[in-house]
Amino acid sequence: MEQTLEINGNRHRLDIEAGETLIEVLRDRLKLTAAKVGCGRGECGACTVLIGGRAKLACVTLAACVDDPVETAEGLADEARGFREAMADRGGFQCSYCTPGMVVRAVSILRGGDLSDDDALRRDMAGNLCRCTGYQGIIESLRLASQTKGSPA
């Protein structure tokens, strides 16, 4: 079915199959490969993207049901610059396979959330699995990025 998807500000006219997931459209058709497939079942967060500003899982999202603009790690790299630098300074990534999903989730938290409570931040990040880092560098990076938010990158 012909459909227009807005991804990172660009409009794509695509012939979407009914059963096609958003992650298939992003990776296989548009070659936007930052979002990773970690589980394919909505359990790990590696494919996290923003749809209408909300962090969702592209692997369990039917592309045909996406109306709102989509933002991926590629499109959020600049906005996330502070968080990404903090990740590099705090050891927030190792193998980095989960990292693009972490970055997208972090952007959604940094845009709106209350970052006063580390326990709350840990719950907010609970949908993004990481096997390497033990999460602490990621939580610290969120805090660092929130403190430098607004200052020039």
């Binding site: 790990c44 967060g45 039917l62 840990r122 602490q136």
Partner: protein, 1126 residues
């Protein structure tokens, strides 16, 4: 830049932007999909394989079986018992039998279904216990009749003399469950045969490219130079890919046969089921101590379950044994080890190679010994710890040890002496020590690496190393070591790595050797280069080479400076202006073979690292839940090269250790994997990970580049024992089996909470039928039904062909009525999961998310609240948290405990209520009663049913209804408004909404339109409690209580339990007891329902957990404190 400065990983920009290419990101347009046909039996003879129909099928480019591969085994470091594909017989469930390459995944799957394999199943030994049982079937022809693959009997020091001066001894057995590596990037291999060049190009994540290359070349009859492993991102390893997996050779063989690139990419379920795993390990151990608190001897028997091939099992057995004789000063040790074949997927190298298991045994036993003789556990360790200059009875030369400082750091940071005096109230602290090699030098290649440095005339520096960085930060370490010698910043070094055609030999990471061996070669090459630069600079500047300082890209002396590019170009060895320095570095350490035939005596590693981890835990005695409050990790890693990476390695190791300690466990049913998803495998989430305080103590090691020792594996090793010791301190219960799951804690504390058990079955005739069926299961019923339905359910491949997106519920009803195959969908997250699980998908989906009338949350004039079924959980939560009504707040709290934040953004209220059961047998492909029909068994009856099966109300199927929302909505007297195919409406109370586990009263064409919560219920005090394995996990038990009135004389409440029964369970007996007792005796009221229960043997613990949660919910809803049982 100097060693020890914080340095961002050289690839940090690519790694954080998502532009670092991993294998799946590199698929060429003409790639074929490779798929594997796997054995459905744990043990069978292959009578015949007919691939002819598959070969003729549309889109198929190649089909391979054993006839297309040489009749030889992988070298596997000399163990050589593993064929590349099943030949003549299958020895574990899931073993590769054939593989196909086709144009599309669907065509590949169809081709697999067309391969006809005739099996003759025979008796299997699918577990360690089964393999060791007398008369067990022989798994591998190499083993003797007892399934022992290899055994070792070792004696070190003077055990007899040591026993004579022993005054006390402690003896026990320690069992470690099976962890999955669970790398975030599942296994994948892309192969492309270059016929003209005679080169097999391979893209595969691994931390040991040379090792994988050698095995591929060996199997394909190619020279190693004809196989090129390309540089790719490596999404984790932890030992999973240090040796070749099964898919690389299959992909390469298919690619050569098809003449096209072929990729084999494992799904997450296949990753959990069919890739290497940790070995199961059981250690029986005794430690003696003399009157002065000095350890005397240790005796241990280490039993390791290999699975069907050794695949590292013997290495693990040998290292665990020798570590047991090495850690602490001992006078003697007798260490026996066995590695055992079983009919299960083979284990493989796993972070620490037996170290974590040995450390769990050693460090639990030290605490038990301290308890026995009345010494503080840290003091006992300090008396016996290995110190600098020691040589262990196993021959390890301890060139530097700051183990005592590690322990003292934990003592100080945990406020140990105070905390230790306060144990036993559910809070506790524990400590454990670890020591580990920095590279085990077991063969010449493991101690040798090469590095090459090129300096161009423009001063650019290229460092080439054959290492790979699966997250260890190795690229940062080698850049930093190189930069420090050359007087540059690490980010000025261009690292060429991993690609076997472009880089010199490297043994790959393994046994924590990356920094020591690879880093050692890089530092040696950089020193050689620096010396050459100084030499030539000295000639030009007219000074001694030692007076030349390399800084910022220049050689400086006597106030003059020359660029290093200029110097390189001027060097007599330079070619075309580029100076190349190659260095082969062999570590100055003996080779200690450490095979089963070897004594094991010798100095195994150039340096030994030490670490002490201290943890503080809080144990919920009611539910068995353990919360780790904080961790102190003190490490003697010698010089820390890059503190960013080192600290992250430690924290990551701690959290992986916490997973092993508290939840991670692969579970099997007759050799078949059950836990095949992150939902069922309790890998710690961010919400479970505690703050970790990392402290590096000590100084440079005499050996190692810049004095560095290892970090990566030891970071995991002491954690589990520290947790077990803290739990023992907090509760008095010593649990010697990992993981320490809630069921084990509740069982261990059982005596204290006696009285929560139903009456005997003979007094309860209503349960006789179920009890009779259950008791027949182990007596042959299970075997008969299993044999009848042995064939796996054929995965359904029905695809979603049409999506209808109505704008109103009227249109939705009409769309469902128009197409009988149509099914309603909310967020569709579980529909897509179930498609992945082989259930197929409805051909037509009617997506309800755009139905305007189902997307509202509205309060009517009377205060009744209607929540549309298409409202997402996140939107409902956002609205409900703003309410000051207690019922709304309880509902918001319930939603906050459902799934992950991302799922809550997609999942809807209606979808949550209607989701299918989550039984791990049902979901992981077992051909069970609910999947295959009435002639199939329920695998939960005799299988592992500890967490997600019913203790009450189950019939043939033991599954539970997974919706947490239902638990709370029933307590709130909510009704579901259902719209039927005729356009009519009916209201059904949520307590009558379910007919079975995850099965509702909805009939075809009907949808849940909304749920309505009465005003009165919203205003009632209410409280929700949940026990899950991870914060996003399904409830093992949940409870919600809503209090209608706690006034004396007429107290009344709703008490609902989730996770205990096939349907959400209204605990009416507890409600009646509450009515009788009032709020004063919630303890008794919360237990009043138990006599209705009929638990399975392994889930009776849930009765206690459910009573605890119900009591807590009652108390909270009544505004009362819950007393902590002591």
């Amino acid at each position: 830049m100097t060693i020890g400065d914080a340095f961002r990983h050289p690839e940090w920009v690519e790694r954080t932007s998502g532009s670092l290419p991993y294998t799946r990101d590199l698929m060429p347009d003409d790639v074929l999909t490779g798929r594997i046909l796997r054995s459905p039996h744990p043990a069978a003879e292959i009578v015949s394989i007919d691939t002819s129909a598959a070969e003729r099928a549309a889109g198929v480019a190649a089909v391979i079986t054993a006839r297309d591969l040489p009749d030889r085994n992988y070298r596997d470091y000399g163990q050589a018992d593993r064929p590349p594909i099943a030949r003549g017989s299958v020895v574990y469930f899931g073993q590769d039998v054939a593989a196909v390459a086709a144009e599309t995944p669907e065509q590949a799957d169809r081709a697999l279904a067309l391969i006809r394999v005739r099996y003759k199943p025979h008796r299997a030994a699918p577990s360690l216990a089964a393999a060791l049982r007398p008369g067990a079937p022989i798994v591998h022809p190499r083993s003797r009749a007892d399934n022992i693959a290899e055994s070792a009997v070792r004696s070190f020091g003077n055990p007899e003399g040591a026993k004579e001066r022993t005054s006390d001894a402690v003896s026990a057995r320690y069992d470690c469950g099976i962890q999955a590596h669970a790398c975030m990037e599942s296994h994948v291999a892309l192969a492309d045969w270059d016929e003209a060049g005679g080169i097999m190009n391979i893209w595969v994540p691994t931390q040991s490219p040379r090792n994988v290359r050698a095995e591929i070349a060996y199997m394909l009859d190619l020279d190693p130079e004809q196989v090129r492993l390309h540089r790719v991102g490596v999404g984790g390893d932890f030992g999973a890919r240090v040796k070749i997996s099964d898919i690389e050779v299959l992909a390469a063989t298919l690619a050569r046969s098809a003449g096209r690139p072929v990729a084999i990419s494992l799904s997450r379920a296949d990753e959990f089921a069919f890739t290497k795993r940790q070995h199961e390990c059981s250690i029986a151990m005794e430690t003696g101590v003399d009157r002065d608190g000095l350890l005397t001897y240790r005796r241990a028997e280490v039993v390791v379950e290999n699975g069907a091939f050794i695949h590292g099992g013997s290495n693990m057995m040998n290292y665990a044994s020798i570590l047991i004789g090495s850690q602490y000063r001992l006078e003697g040790a007798e260490l026996d080890g066995r590695s055992v074949y079983s009919n299960r997927r083979p284990g493989g190298a796993f972070r620490g190679a037996g170290g974590p298991q040995a450390t769990f045994a050693i460090e639990c036993q030290i605490d038990e010994l301290a308890d026995e003789i009345g010494i503080d556990p840290i003091d006992l360790r300090l008396r016996n710890v290995n110190r600098t200059g020691d040589c262990t009875i196993t021959g390890w030369e301890i060139k530097s040890s700051h183990a005592a400082e590690c322990l003292e750091t934990v003592r100080e940071k945990l406020n140990w002496d105070v905390a230790r005096g306060q144990g036993g109230n559910g809070r506790g602290v524990g400590v454990a020590l670890a020591m580990h090699v920095s590279g085990a030098i077991v063969s010449p290649p493991t101690g040798r690496a090469e590095a090459r440095i090129e300096i161009g005339h423009n001063g650019g520096v290229v460092l080439s190393s054959g290492c790979a960085d699966p997250g260890t930060g190795e690229y940062a370490v080698i850049a930093q070591l190189c930069a420090a010698e050359l007087g540059l910043r690490a980010d000025e070094i261009d690292c060429r790595v991993m690609d076997t055609a472009e880089t010199p030999f490297d043994p790959g990471a393994g046994s924590s050797r990356g920094t020591m061996i690879t880093g050692g070669a890089v530092q040696a090459a950089a020193r050689k280069t620096a010396a050459a630069l100084r030499e030539i600079a000295a000639q030009t500047l007219g000074c001694a080479p030692d007076d030349v300082v390399l800084r910022d890209g220049f050689a400086e002396a006597a106030g003059r400076r020359i660029g290093i590019g200029e110097l390189a170009a001027a060097h007599p060895d330079s070619v075309g202006g580029t100076l190349t320095m190659f260095c082969e570095e062999v570590v100055d350490s003996p080779v200690v073979p450490m095979t089963a035939a070897d004594s094991g005596f010798g100095d195994l590693s150039p340096a030994y690292s030490f670490a002490a981890h201290g943890v503080e835990v809080e144990v919920d005695r009611g539910t068995g839940a353990v919360r780790v409050l904080r961790v102190v990790a003190a490490h003697d890693a010698g010089t820390v090269v890059n503190p960013v990476g080192a600290r992250s390695q430690v924290i990551g190791g701690v959290v992986m250790g916490l997973g092993a300690a508290l939840g991670e466990e692969l579970i099997y049913e007759a050799g078949r994997p059950v836990t095949t998803s992150y939902a069922d495998y309790a890998l710690p989430r961010a919400s479970e990970a505690p703050p970790v305080d990392v402290v590096f103590v000590g100084g440079p090691s005499p050996k190692g580049p810049a004095g560095a020792k290892s970090i990566s594996e030891i970071a995991l090793m002491p954690t589990a024992a520290a947790v077990a010791n803290a739990i023992a301190h907090a509760t008095g219960a010593r649990i010697r089996s990992l993981p320490i799951s809630p069921d084990k804690i509740v069982a261990a504390l059982g005596e204290a909470d006696a009285g929560i058990e139903p009456q005997p079955i003979w007094q309860r005739p209503s349960h006789w039928w179920a009890a009779g069926v259950r008791s027949a299961y182990p007596l042959g019923l299970h075997a008969a039904l299993h044999a009848w339905g042995r064939q796996s359910p054929v995965p359904r491949h029905s695809a979603v062909e049409t999506i209808v997106r109505p704008r109103s519920s009227d249109d939705a009803i009409a769309a469902l009525a128009a197409d009988r195959s149509a099914r309603p969908a909310g967020g569709a997250t579980d529909i897509l999961s179930m498609r992945d699980q082989g259930f197929g998908a409805p051909p037509t989906l009617v997506s309800l998310t755009a139905c305007a009338d189902m997307n509202e949350i509205a309060e009517d004039a009377d205060g009744n609240l209607t929540i549309g079924a298409a409202v997402t959980l996140a939107d409902a939560q956002r609205q409900l948290v703003r309410s000051d009504r207690p019922g709304d707040m309880a509902l918001a709290a319930t939603i906050a405990a459902i799934a992950s934040p991302q799922i809550r953004e997609s999942g809807t209220v209606g979808g949550n209520l209607c989701q299918a059961k989550r039984c791990w047998f049902f979901r992981s492909g077992f051909n069970c009663y609910k999947r295959g029909g009435a002639t199939r068994p329920c695998y939960a009856v005799t299988g592992d049913h500890r967490y997600f099966h019913a203790v009450l109300g189950a019939g043939r199927c033991q599954a539970i209804t997974p919706s947490d929302l239902a638990t709370t909505l029933i307590a709130l007297d909510a009704t579901a408004r259902i719209r039927d195919a005729g356009g009519g409406d009916r209201s059904v109370g949520l307590d009558a909404f379910y007919e079975g586990p995850g099965e509702t009263v909805l009939s075809g064409g009907e949808i849940v339109h909304s749920v309505v919560i009465p005003a009165q219920a919203r205003s009632r005090p209410a409280h929700f409690e949940k026990l899950a394995r991870t914060s996003d996990g399904f409830a093992m038990v949940s409870a919600c209580v809503s209090v209608l009135s706690d006034a004396p004389g007429a107290p009344q409440c709703r008490a609902v339990l989730g996770g205990v029964a096939n349907r959400p369970y209204r605990a009416r007996l507890s409600e009646q007891a509450f009515h009788r007792n009032g709020a004063a005796d919630n303890h008794a009221s919360a237990r009043a329902w138990v006599n209705e229960a009929h638990p399975l043997p392994g889930n009776a613990w849930k009765l206690k957990a459910a009573c605890a949660l119900l009591e807590r919910a009652m108390n909270a809803a009544c505004g009362r404190e819950t007393e902590t049982p002591t």
